[in-house]
């Protein structure tokens, strides 16, 4: 069986040491996820959901085996991991993490330029296109400090998606946003998922209501998979929390 289009985790463990404590953030997780889906990882604080996202994005290490479309990332060296993140992962952080010295367009351009070999003109065109998709065409020359939190997060979404990643990793993308702003961000993410059947989107949240937008819900509790549920997603505009 080809693993194309599939992300698998086999016996993934992650133990942190915090002072004298040992925290078992991920306990023997095994999962297989298909691309083209929006997977919501749900769980309370401390359930290991962010750690799961981190190990998938290769910004945290773990024991076990993780394969992304045939690529076994748990065996990659440091340089290859950087390349993996650059080409294949799109990140949406809870705290946006846009580069404050760059305006919206430049923030998106940065990721495209890094991941592709497109010409300068093509980079700009693609970045503009993605900003249009997230509804920020008019504000493309605004700097992060001139954008609201929701707008910043939508720029972050454009930045993550514009490079055509294989994985889109969203860590509490609405955690810092008001309901209205949050809904817009989720809509943007949901639309992107619909457009791209080759991308696996993983969205981590503690908010049960948000889980409704996912194709799959993975519930984590104390570092273990509690349940996996397939469902028909509800459009984000219809959510309320």
């Amino acid at each position: 069986m080809s693993l194309e289009g599939i992300v698998t985790l086999e016996n993934v463990n992650r133990v942190y040491h915090m002072g004298d404590h040992e925290i078992h953030a991920l306990k023997d997780i095994s999962l297989s996820l298909e691309t083209g889906k929006l997977v919501v990882v749900l769980g309370p604080s401390g359930s290991g959901k962010t750690t799961l996202l981190n190990v998938l994005g290769a910004i945290d290490k773990c024991d076990g085996k993780i394969t992304v479309n045939d690529l076994e990332i748990t065996r990659l060296g440091k340089k290859q991991l950087t390349k993996y993140r650059r080409k294949k992962c799109g990140f949406i952080f809870q705290f946006f993490n846009l580069l404050p010295v760059y305006n919206a367009l430049e923030n998106v351009e940065y990721a495209i330029e890094l991941a592709t070999n497109l010409s300068r003109k093509e980079v700009t065109e693609r970045a503009t296109e993605y900003l249009r998709k997230v509804g920020l065409f008019e504000k493309r020359f605004h700097f992060p400090s001139q954008l609201s939190g929701g707008e910043q997060q939508r720029v972050a979404a454009a930045r993550a998606m514009a490079k055509s990643p294989e994985l889109l990793l969203c860590d509490e993308p609405t955690g810092e946003l008001s309901v209205n702003e949050g809904k817009k961000v989720l809509t943007v993410i949901q639309n992107m998922v619909k457009e791209r059947s080759d991308v696996l989107t993983i969205l981590v949240t503690h908010n049960q209501k948000i889980a409704a937008i996912g194709d799959t819900i993975v519930r984590l509790r104390s570092g273990e998979v509690d349940s996996i549920e397939e469902q028909t997603p509800i459009p984000a505009e219809q959510l309320s929390w």
């Binding site: 915090m18 002072g19 004298d20 404590h21 925290i23 309370p44 604080s45 401390g46 359930s47 700097f143 992060p144 400090s145 001139q146 954008l147 609201s148 939190g149 609405t174 955690g175 810092e176 946003l177 008001s178 309901v179 209205n180 702003e181 949050g182 503690h206 908010n207 509790r221 104390s222 929390w241």
Partner: protein, 247 residues
Amino acid sequence: MAFIELSDLSKEYSLGETKTVALDGIDLEINRGQLVILYGPSGAGKTTLLNMIGGLDVPNSGTVTVDEIPVSTLSAKWLTTFRKQKIGVVFQFFNLLSRLNALENIEYAIDLIGVKQSDGSTSFNGKIIREKAKEYLEKVGLKDRMNHFPAQLSGGEQQRVSIARALAKEPEILLADEPTGNLDYKIGRNVLEIMEAMTGKAQNRTVVIVTHNPAICPLGDRVVRLSDGKVAENYTQKYTPAKELYW
């Protein structure tokens, strides 16, 4: 007059160059000894409201009155005194001073007001302050970790230290901003239990807890739901003990 009275409170602040309306005409009364849950999604204005009550921030318009003190009109100097005498704060991210160990973090707070002695005087003696800090660490079950620095403590432990720090001043009002927001369920509930035990009816201490977690709402005598800077719901209820909460 209610213990805490907020009337027509509005606050708009700018971050970078964008403006956000955080509070939009809030009217609210809280009685002495109540445990109030301020519930709502991110961006609803919960934290801002909490900051107003605690004198950590001032409104653009409207008034805040606490125990007949016109908090919203106090000068910076008197606001400091108000916070020092009346308020204890617990933050979502614990915010312990990283350079001080658990015990010292608590002493740091007691240093401000000293320790009331049985004869009515106030002592600033280092030993007495240390004893009191230890006593509070013991109450949150961390006496054996008093020499640990924040970086050596787990999130739950840090939050317990932070609660001890807030309460060691024996404030009339305890404000907690998402105290369980960064904690695992079990640890979070444990933190709430501690807060419940150390406040509540017996101590006649007023407590305001901000949360986005609906499962915590039953803990309160009163629940105030905020939405887009406005009060969406405001009701009293018979409270449920923390140990019965589940989320």
